[in-house]
C-alpha cells in the first residue's frame, strides 16, 4: 500500500475513541482525520521530540450535526434566508442534552481558552479545498460553569452555521456537490498560546505549505515550501494582508521586495488576541501595545522594527530624531534568530508530505522563548495536475494580443473562452465606490454560471484594501477560468500572490489560472488599444466591462510567459 492509499484508508475514529475525545458519533471530518493521522505517524519518528500537538482534541462527530439538522431543519432555512439570519436561527436552537453534558465535561477538563474548529466531511476529500470556507471560533472559557458551557455550545453552533455561508455554498455548487451531502464535525482544542497580562495569544502563528505552486520568482522551486507568519492569533495570517511570507529555501526574499518603505507598508501593524477580561477576540495596534510587546516578548527585536524617513531601524534604536517613526512586525531577524523554526517547519513539511503522499498544508504556533512549535492543524493539499509542455503560438498578431505577462506562470492552456470581464483601472480608481465595483463583478459572475471567463482587473483581486485591488469575495469570481491581475505601478497597484491565503488556495484547487501583467514593463502587454477598440457592455458599474468573443490562454511555466489573445478575429 502506498502512502496516498495509507492516508486515504486511515480510520481516525479509534484514535479519538480510545482517548475518550469523541463526542457523539459519526465521522470526525477532514481536519480531525489529518490531526489523528499526523499524531500517530509522528509518534513513530524522532521528529516528535521537536514538534508538539495540542494535548487534547475533542471532536463533536457529524452525527450531532445530522441530529441537529433533522431536528431543526437548518438546510431548509439556508435556501430561504441569508447567512446572518441562518446563523441567528442556529444559535437560537438548543443542542441535544447529552451533548451539552459532554461539553460540560470539556470545559471542566480544559480550563483555559478554547479553539473551536470546523472539520467537515468534504474537507477530507483530497480533491477539494474548502480551506477558509468554514469558520474557527475562540472561546475564552471564563465565567461560571453554565456560561462557559453555553459559550462553547455557541461556538459549536456557529461552526454548524458556517456550513451555510455563501462562500461554502458557492464552492459546493461549483463542484456539483448535492445539498445535504456536507456534514460538519467540530474540533475543540485548548487554544495554543500564553497569557500575557490580560491577553491570551500565541507569539507567532504559522501557516505552511510544502509546495509553492505559484512562485514569486524563478529562484523559488516548486518543492521549496513556504510559510507565512504573523504575530498573535492566526486570524491575521489568512486573508490577503500583512503576514510575512518566508520561502523556506530563500527566507531572505520577500514578495514585496526589500525596500524599507514597501516592507513597512506590507508589514503587520496590529495583532489579534483574546482579551481574558471580556472574553472577546480583539485587535490591538502595535503602536499602542509596544510596551506590552517589549515587556512580554524577549525576542521582540527579531520581529519588530521601527520605520521612519525611508529606513528601518532596530527596535532599540533611538528614534526620537525621526519624523513620525512607526513600529511594525517586519520579522526581519526571524530567519536568523529563530533558525530552528524554519528548519523544523521544513522538515515537518517534508515528513508529512512523505507520509501522506500528498503536498500538505498546516497551521502551527511557535513560541520563540521556549523554542516550541505546536502543530494545530494539518491536511493534504488537493492534488494538482500541471499540464505538460506548453508551446505558445508564435504567430499571434500583435493587434490580437490582449495580455502578456512574464512571471509567476504555471503551465496550462485554456481555449475557446467566450467571455472576458474587465475592470477599467482608471474608472475604478477614480470612482471611489470600490465595493460597488466588486458587486458588479459578482453580478456578472452569477450571470455567467456554467461558463468560464477571463477576469482582468487592476492590482490584487480580493484585496481588503480597495486601493490595491478590487475587494471581491471568492464567491464573486468563482466561475472565472483565468484571473489576470494588471499591475499599474503609477497607482501603486501591484499584483501579489500570497500563497498562504485561502483565496489563492482556491485558485489552485479550482484550476483557476493566474497571470500577472505589469503595465509598461518590458515583455508585458496590457493592450488598452484592444480594450478600447472592441465592443463591450457595461456591468452594474461603469468600471466593469463584459466582452464577448473567443479567447485563448496559453501559459508556459517553463519560460514564464503567459498570453491571452483574441481568436475570434483570427479567421
Amino acid at each position: 500500500m502506498d502512502h496516498k492509499e495509507a492516508y486515504r484508508s486511515y480510520d481516525p475514529l479509534p484514535y479519538f475513541r480510545e482517548r475518550g475525545w469523541l463526542i457523539g458519533g459519526g465521522s470526525v471530518g477532514g481536519k480531525g482525520k489529518g490531526l489523528a493521522f499526523a499524531h500517530e505517524i509522528l509518534m513513530q519518528d524522532e521528529l516528535s521530540s521537536e514538534i508538539g500537538l495540542p494535548e487534547v482534541t475533542f471532536v463533536v462527530g457529524t452525527d450531532v450535526f445530522d441530529d441537529f439538522e433533522s431536528e431543526h431543519g437548518v438546510l431548509g432555512l439556508s435556501s430561504v434566508f441569508g447567512f446572518h439570519e441562518v446563523e441567528k436561527q442556529v444559535l437560537s436552537k438548543p443542542l441535544p442534552e447529552p451533548i451539552m453534558a459532554e461539553l460540560e465535561r470539556v470545559v471542566t477538563a480544559l480550563p483555559g481558552p478554547l479553539a473551536v474548529r470546523s472539520s467537515s466531511l468534504l474537507e477530507d476529500d483530497i480533491e477539494l479545498s474548502f480551506a477558509g470556507k468554514y469558520a474557527t471560533f475562540f472561546v475564552a472559557n471564563i465565567g461560571d460553569l453554565s456560561k462557559r458551557v453555553s459559550d462553547l455550545a455557541d461556538g459549536v453552533k456557529k461552526v454548524f452555521a458556517s456550513t451555510y455561508n455563501s462562500a461554502a455554498k458557492e464552492y459546493r455548487k461549483k463542484h456539483s456537490i448535492p445539498k445535504g451531502r456536507e456534514k460538519m464535525a467540530v474540533l475543540i482544542q485548548p487554544l495554543q498560546g500564553k497569557k500575557r497580562g490580560d491577553l491570551f495569544y500565541p507569539e507567532i502563528a504559522v501557516t505552511a505549505f510544502s509546495c509553492v505552486f505559484r512562485r514569486p520568482s524563478p529562484r523559488i522551486d516548486k518543492n521549496d515550501g513556504v510559510m507565512r507568519v504573523c504575530f498573535g492569533m492566526g486570524t491575521h495570517s489568512v486573508g490577503r494582508s500583512f503576514a510575512r511570507t518566508l520561502y523556506l529555501t530563500n527566507p531572505g526574499l520577500r514578495p514585496e521586495g526589500t525596500n524599507p518603505e514597501q516592507v513597512y507598508l506590507y508589514s503587520q501593524k496590529d495583532f489579534d488576541c483574546l482579551d481574558l477580561t471580556t472574553g472577546e477576540l480583539v485587535t490591538k495596534t502595535l503602536v499602542s501595545s509596544l510596551d506590552h510587546v517589549r515587556t512580554n516578548h524577549r525576542n521582540a527585536q527579531a520581529f519588530v522594527e521601527w520605520y521612519g524617513d525611508g529606513m528601518m531601524y532596530w527596535l532599540n534604536s533611538d528614534v526620537s530624531g525621526l519624523t513620525s517613526p512607526m513600529p511594525c512586525f517586519s520579522f526581519t531577524d526571524l530567519p536568523k534568530r529563530c533558525r530552528a523554526l524554519l528548519d523544523r517547519t521544513r522538515r515537518m513539511l517534508s515528513f508529512f508530505q512523505g507520509a501522506m503522499g500528498f503536498p500538505v498544508d498546516m497551521e502551527a504556533v511557535y513560541d520563540s522563548e521556549d523554542d516550541r512549535l505546536t502543530l494545530v492543524q494539518i491536511r493534504p493539499l488537493a492534488s494538482y495536475v500541471e499540464f505538460g509542455k506548453v508551446e505558445i503560438p508564435e504567430d499571434i498578431p500583435k493587434d490580437r494580443e490582449i495580455l502578456r505577462g512574464d512571471r509567476m506562470v504555471t503551465s496550462h492552456i485554456l481555449k475557446g473562452i467566450k467571455w472576458m470581464v474587465y475592470v477599467d483601472p482608471e474608472v475604478y480608481s477614480e470612482s471611489g465606490d470600490f465595493s460597488e465595483v466588486a458587486r458588479a463583478v459578482g453580478e456578472i459572475n452569477g450571470r455567467l454560471e456554467g461558463e468560464r471567463y477571463i477576469l482582468v482587473g487592476p492590482g490584487r483581486w480580493g484585496s481588503t484594501n480597495p486601493s490595491l485591488g478590487v475587494p471581491v469575495d471568492y464567491s464573486e469570481i468563482s466561475n472565472c477560468g483565468c484571473m489576470v491581475e494588471v499591475g499599474i505601478p503609477k497607482r501603486g497597484m501591484i499584483p501579489e500572490l500570497s500563497y498562504g491565503t485561502h483565496f489563492f488556495l482556491d485558485l489552485d484547487l479550482d484550476d483557476i489560472l493566474y497571470l500577472p501583467v505589469i503595465d509598461g514593463e518590458h515583455e508585458n502587454v496590457f493592450s488598452r488599444e484592444w480594450l478600447e477598440r472592441n465592443p463591450f457592455t457595461c456591468g452594474d458599474h461603469d468600471a466593469v466591462r463584459l466582452y464577448s468573443g473567443l479567447f485563448d490562454v496559453y501559459l508556459d511555466g517553463e519560460k514564464e510567459i503567459g498570453v491571452v489573445f483574441d481568436v475570434a478575429q483570427r479567421d
Partner: protein, 425 residues
C-alpha cells in the same frame, strides 16, 4: 559649421537631446557650447559580480554617467531596476545638469544605476550588489567629483553601504560622497520636508510677484504623500486656506479650509499612510479625479504624472498651478491651460527642494557640523526664492512661459560656467 545633432534609439535620451537642441537654438547658444553640452563628460560601465544566497554567481551591469561638472561635482541618483541602461542614465544625467543649475546649487549632473530586479533579491544580496558597485565606481565618484544619491529602488540603506564601502577602500570616512543617508548617520534633518516646502515657497512667491495676498488664498493639493503634506503645512503656516487634498482613497474637500495638522496626524497613524477615514466638520468626500477641478486660487499637483491632461484641463478652475510632482501637466494639458490663461510654475523649478536638500546634506557633511531644522529651512527658503526670481525675471524679460524660461535659465548658467572655465579636458 552647423552642429551635428546627436540622436538616440532610447526615447528618453532622444527627447532630452531634442529638448536641449531646441532650447539652445532659441537662445542662440554658441555651436561649440552646444557640441560640448550635448555630450557627457564621462560614461562608466562596470560589471558587478555577486555571490547570491544560494551560492551561485550573478553578474549585473552597472553604470555611472557624469554629464557635466562645469558648475560643480556631478550630482544624481543611483537606481536599481531591470530596465536600467547606459542611455537611460545619460538622459537622466542630462536632466540633472539642468535641474541642479536651475536650483542655484554648485552641482553638475550625473546619474547611475544597476540593471537588476531588487524585488528578487534578499537584503544581503542587495548589500553585496551595493558594495561591489560602489567598489567598481570608486575611481569616478567623490565629494568633489561625483556625488550619487537615492533614486528608484534605492534609499538610506543603499547609501550607507555605498559610503561604508568607499570609506573603507580609502581608509578614511567619506560621508559627503553620497547624500540621502539616514539622519543618525551623517544624514540631514529637514530633508523629508524639503521638496514640499520648496513647492509651497514657489506658490507663495508667485502670489507675491502678482501682488495677490497669500492670506486667505485658497489652495487644492493633489497627493498627500511626502511632498503634498509639507506643501500643505507650509501653505497653512503662510496664512493660505487649503480647501482640498487627495490621495488614492479620494478627494477631501472643505470650503472653509481643512485642518491640515489633523490630516497629517491622521496619515501618520494610518497603517498605509492614507487619508482614508479622515473627517472634520464640513468635510465633503469627492471622487479622486475631482481634485484638479476644485475651485481655488492655487492648485498644487503633487501626485501623479499626467494628472492634468487634454481631457480634464478645460475643467481646471484654479488660477495658478505649481507643479509639485514630476510632469503632472501633459503637453496637451499645458496648451489648454495656456489658452485659459492659467499660469504654471514648472516642476523643474518647483520641486527642486529635494536636490537642494541633498546639497545641504553635503555641506553639513563637509563641515562635519549639523544645522538645526530652522537653519535648514531658512536657507532652503532663501535659495528657492532666488530661483523663483531668476525664472520669473527671465520669463518677463524674454517674454517666454515659465517652463521655457526655467530650462533656458538653467542652460545659460552651465554655458556661462563652461565659458568662464574655458575648453579644456
Amino acid at each position: 559649421m552647423a552642429v551635428v545633432k546627436r540622436t538616440s534609439d532610447n526615447v528618453l535620451l532622444d527627447t532630452a537631446l531634442k529638448n536641449f537642441y531646441a532650447a539652445a537654438e532659441e537662445m542662440g547658444l554658441d555651436d561649440g557650447l552646444v557640441e560640448i553640452l550635448s555630450r557627457s563628460e564621462r560614461k562608466t560601465c562596470v560589471s558587478i559580480p555577486v555571490e547570491m544566497d544560494d551560492g551561485t554567481i550573478k553578474v549585473f551591469d552597472g553604470f555611472r554617467v557624469a554629464h557635466s561638472t562645469a558648475v560643480g561635482p556631478a550630482k544624481g541618483g543611483v537606481r536599481f531596476h531591470p530596465e536600467v541602461c547606459l542611455d537611460e542614465c545619460e538622459a537622466l544625467a542630462f536632466m540633472m545638469t539642468w535641474k541642479c543649475s536651475l536650483a542655484g546649487i554648485p552641482y553638475g549632473g550625473g546619474k547611475g544605476g544597476v540593471c537588476c530586479n531588487p524585488l528578487e533579491m534578499s537584503v544581503k544580496e542587495k548589500e553585496r550588489v551595493c558594495r561591489t558597485f560602489a567598489a567598481r565606481i570608486e575611481p569616478v565618484v567623490g565629494a568633489w567629483t561625483d556625488i550619487p544619491a537615492p533614486d528608484v529602488n534605492t534609499g538610506g540603506p543603499e547609501m550607507v553601504w555605498f559610503m561604508d564601502t568607499i570609506s573603507r577602500m580609502r581608509g578614511r570616512l567619506e560621508p559627503a560622497i553620497f547624500t540621502g543617508k539616514p539622519i543618525p548617520l551623517w544624514g540631514s534633518k529637514g530633508r523629508t520636508a524639503a521638496t514640499g516646502l520648496g513647492v509651497a515657497t514657489c506658490a507663495i512667491e508667485l502670489l507675491n510677484a502678482l501682488s495677490v495676498p497669500v492670506k486667505g488664498a485658497t489652495v487644492a493639493i493633489q497627493g498627500f504623500g511626502n511632498v503634498g503634506t509639507y506643501a500643505a503645512l507650509t501653505m497653512v503656516d503662510a496664512g493660505a486656506k487649503v480647501v482640498a487634498i487627495s490621495d488614492i482613497t479620494g478627494t477631501y474637500y472643505c470650503k472653509d479650509g481643512l485642518d491640515i495638522k489633523k490630516a497629517f496626524e491622521h496619515i501618520n497613524n494610518h497603517p498605509k499612510k492614507f487619508l482614508e477615514g479622515f473627517d472634520q466638520a464640513g468635510l465633503e468626500k469627492k471622487a479622486l479625479g475631482d481634485l484638479v477641478l476644485v475651485d481655488c486660487d492655487v492648485l498644487l499637483p503633487c501626485a501623479l504624472e499626467g494628472a492634468i491632461n487634454g481631457k480634464n484641463a478645460d475643467g481646471v478652475k484654479a488660477k495658478y498651478i505649481v507643479e509639485g510632482a514630476n510632469g503632472p501637466v501633459t503637453p496637451e494639458g499645458d496648451a489648454v491651460l495656456d489658452a485659459k490663461g492659467i499660469l504654471v510654475v514648472p516642476d523643474f523649478l518647483a520641486n527642486s527642494g529635494g536636490v537642494i536638500g541633498s546639497y545641504f546634506e553635503w555641506c553639513q557633511d563637509l563641515g562635519g557640523f549639523f544645522w538645526s531644522q530652522e537653519e535648514y529651512n531658512e536657507r532652503l527658503l532663501r535659495i528657492m526664492k532666488d530661483n523663483f526670481k531668476t525664472v520669473w525675471d527671465y520669463s518677463q524679460k524674454n517674454n517666454v512661459k515659465m517652463r521655457r524660461a526655467a530650462f533656458m535659465a538653467a542652460i545659460q548658467r552651465v554655458a556661462d560656467a563652461v565659458k568662464m572655465r574655458g575648453v579644456f579636458l
